[in-house]
């Protein structure tokens, strides 16, 4: 089974040379730590920066330079700042190659819910609805089950949707899965996790074809 860093490490392998990548808050933010350093990648933060770098050293924080999680950041050579309309123009116009975000629920048809629990938690969708509606390549990073042990990979989402039919790939603490017309296709198992364990933790339809390899991370 993977921890959050393990999930991020596996997703980092999906980041290819020349990609502009948008990272969501939480596990996705960790992905930047594991991207190979022999490829050229730029991270976009939708509040208005391309070419995000690591967190600043103590004493070098700048209140005017933050990421979408409102954390202080630095920029790398080649970075740029821009306004919110242009930022979402990059996203809507499909100039960003890969979007990695978290989710509360994903359905076997690619629907995603991650912004609201009616009556309990209403923080808002931020940029998530724009991102999932436009990105061609969306990877969801999340735990396979919620805190109550219930599956987050469902037949249909029960929470208010963020987007419809948009998720392509999911990396959890247990598995890598692809959303296909037949259901969640199991691509890889996390180290030490059996197909049976994944089946048990998946409420939606799981498609298992032949031997499922263990992740190589």
């Amino acid at each position: 089974m993977l921890d959050k860093n393990g999930i991020a490490k596996r997703i980092a392998k999906e980041v290819k040379d020349g990609y502009y990548v948008n990272l969501g808050i939480g596990i996705p933010t960790l992905v930047a730590n594991f991207v190979r350093d022999d490829i050229s990648v730029e991270f976009q933060s939708e509040n208005g920066v391309l070419g995000m770098g690591p967190f600043p050293f103590e004493g070098e924080e700048d209140a005017d330079i933050i990421n979408a999680g409102k954390q202080t950041i630095t920029t790398l050579p080649g970075a740029s700042f821009f306004d919110s309309a242009l930022s979402f123009g990059m996203i809507r116009g499909k100039h960003v190659h890969l979007t990695i975000l978290g989710a509360m629920e994903v359905a076997e048809n690619g629907d995603i819910a991650n912004w609201k629990i009616p009556g309990k938690m209403v923080k808002g969708m931020g940029g998530a609805m724009d991102l999932v509606a436009s990105a061609e390549n969306i990877i969801v990073a999340m735990m396979h089950t919620n805190r109550a042990g219930k599956s987050k990979l469902l037949k249909r989402c029960t929470l208010p949707l963020t987007g419809v039919g948009c998720v392509k790939k999911i990396v959890t603490n247990l598995a890598v899965l692809e959303v296909t017309p037949d259901g969640f296709k199991l691509l890889e198992r996390a180290p030490g996790v059996s197909v049976e364990e994944i089946e048990k933790a998946t409420e939606g339809k799981l498609v298992v074809n032949g031997e499922i390899p263990e992740m190589n991370i």
Binding site: E61, A63, K70, Q71, T72, D83, G124, M125, M129, D130
Partner: protein, 233 residues
């Protein structure tokens, strides 16, 4: 040169009234019009509708107006950092219209540029699109979103000149440029107000035509919401 300079925040906010709709720049606490917010608190203007990506935190930014119950309605994309906000929303004291962030920015930009509405894929198939016109283009579904209408825009820039030209810094730019000229009156507060001619015209982000009033902010606290650092190894 058409001079947009006003003496102070009091003169800059002349004409604000109860029940008006205001746009306020900023993302989180980054690039917010601190001085205009402080003046709105001082004036005690009530029943305000605020168009702002976030709602501040409990004791800063728009949180200051929420504390005093001056806000009737918020139009935002993310309000997760404010307990008082969540309380007022869940209890029904505060009306909230959650809008996808890119749509929010574009609704400002549309108002600025004279578009009555635009189609966006964001929110299609979700509750955000309920009751809205949808249309298919090249096999993909889009939602029609109208431009905002507002009485005042309050924006914050790094440098400005008396002609109202603005330059922003870092990610404090965010929604500020999109809100300039998107309301009947745009009020810009700047960290440094310079005589016309001091800024290189090549480096202006927002031309003064979009700004009606500009003033030097008295104080910018620039609070950091999530101070995050790494250790020197």
């Amino acid at each position: 040169m058409i001079n947009k300079k006003v003496a102070d925040v009091t003169e800059a906010l002349k004409g604000v009234e109860n029940g008006m709709t205001f746009m306020l720049g900023g993302f989180g606490l980054c690039g917010i019009p601190e001085n205009a917010i402080a003046e709105l608190v001082r004036l005690g203007i009530k029943d305000i509708t605020c168009i702002s990506n976030n709602a501040g935190v409990d004791d800063f930014g728009l949180g200051l107006l929420l504390q005093k119950h001056q806000i009737k309605k918020m139009i935002s994309s993310y309000v997760g950092e404010n307990d008082e906000f969540e309380r007022q929303m869940l209890s029904g004291e505060l009306e909230v219209e959650l809008t996808p962030q890119g749509t929010l920015a574009e609704k400002c930009r549309a108002a600025q540029s004279g578009f009555p509405a635009f189609y966006t894929p964001a929110g299609y198939g979700t509750e955000v699109a309920e009751g809205k016109e949808t249309r298919e283009f090249d096999g993909k579904m889009y939602v029609l979103e109208p431009a905002f209408k507002a009485d005042f825009s309050f924006v914050k820039a790094w440098k400005g000149d008396e002609a109202g030209n603005l330059i922003f810094k870092g990610t404090a730019r965010n929604f500020n440029p999109c809100m300039c000229g998107a309301a009947n009156i745009t009020v810009a507060e700047v960290e440094e107000l310079l005589p016309a001619g001091s800024l290189d015209p090549n480096e202006i982000h927002i031309p003064g035509i979009f700004v009606q009033r500009i003033f030097q902010g008295e104080k910018f606290e620039k609070r950091i919401e999530q101070r995050t650092v790494r250790q020197k190894s």
